[in-house]
Symmetry: C2
Subunit: 203 residues, 2 copies
């Protein structure tokens, strides 16, 4: 299956941005991961389950979200090709959480369990370093997002999101983007309307 090899190529390119690995080291590392191909709409995690895997996205993209009493969804993360996703609380503590994770497109993933993650980190010190850098970068990103949500208007947050991740507008449905921003689909639709009117004026 050549897609399997391709999935690991994406991982190697991504990891290679932070550490340089020999072929042997990388081959050794691959044994810690389980490839998985999922269809659009398929769940990787549901409410009440333990998040067994940290997931690397090679193709497609995933989302993590919660559902409140009213049945409304709230998107916590979106993960595209080359990104990692998991529910941090449940994964690191191995306690059941209240998040869902599902695929918004057909996706190819590489899964690693907490045990494998810990073992990989202690077996290949370069991976220990890579994982810490990953955590640090993730932390930086979440702080940026917090600042954005407490200090900007919905329109400003939307523009900032487009700037930091331009592919989002093309690939993610309006209602999921709205949910990620913490507003209703109606509100985002109106914001888009205003923005395209403004652009028309400037042209």
């Amino acid at each position: 299956m050549e897609s399997l090899r391709a999935a690991f190529d994406v991982l190697r390119r991504e990891v290679g941005k932070h550490i340089s690995l020999t072929d042997t080291e990388f081959a050794q590392a691959t044994s810690f991961f389980t490839p998985r191909r999922v269809k659009k709409g398929q769940y990787l995690l549901q409410e009440g389950e333990v998040c067994k895997f940290m997931m690397f996205v090679s193709v497609g993209f995933l989302r993590s979200y919660t559902v409140d009493e009213k049945g409304d969804e709230h998107v916590d993360q979106l993960a595209f090709e080359g990104w990692w996703i998991a529910e941090p609380y449940s994964f690191f503590t191995q306690n059941p959480g209240k998040y869902f994770i599902d695929a918004l497109e057909d996706s190819d993933l590489l899964l690693i369990t907490l045990d494998a993650y810990e073992t990989l980190a202690s077996t290949i010190p370069k991976f220990e370093h890579y994982f810490r850098v990953l955590l640090q970068n993730h932390l930086i990103a979440t702080h940026r997002r917090i600042l954005s949500t407490i200090s900007l208007s919905a329109e400003q947050r939307y523009l900032e999101l487009l700037q930091s991740c331009p592919t989002i507008a093309a690939r993610v449905s309006l209602r999921h983007i709205a949910s990620y921003l913490g507003i209703t689909p109606e509100a985002l639709s109106r914001i888009r309307g205003r923005l395209s009117k403004k652009q028309a004026q400037n042209a």
Copy 2:
């Protein structure tokens, strides 16, 4: 100076919650930290500077925040006794950032530079583990906060904050709490008014 010894005692108690250290190991670790006593209102970091230290709070508490074009402050973190604080982006990359950090009470701190942090982690593997757990827990907390800001009303967020950190109401001024929640002081004042009216009804 017995306060210095006391500052390290707080650190040891805190670190001891996650890893167990011998006296020798802890003594070795202390050499990586610089104690610092600051007065209320004093800055530890200002806009445009590099965040040179990750800071452990032994006494008092600190806040990190940004100031926007209108001059409004936006509180990113509050750190009480036993907590760590830094500006993640600037500290980990050693690039200048746009955050401020200052003391909201007279405080005793233990500072560690990025170099010392890396060296300590590689010298005493237990600290490498401790720091990763610290990052993981911080990540869990920031995700909880993101979910809270995108899915709850200001009143619900305030109640959740009080529950997760009861000391906050007694020690932090209303306007700083409001800023942390992403609302105006006026709005929080009204929320408090409504809540105490509700409580009076229930009594």
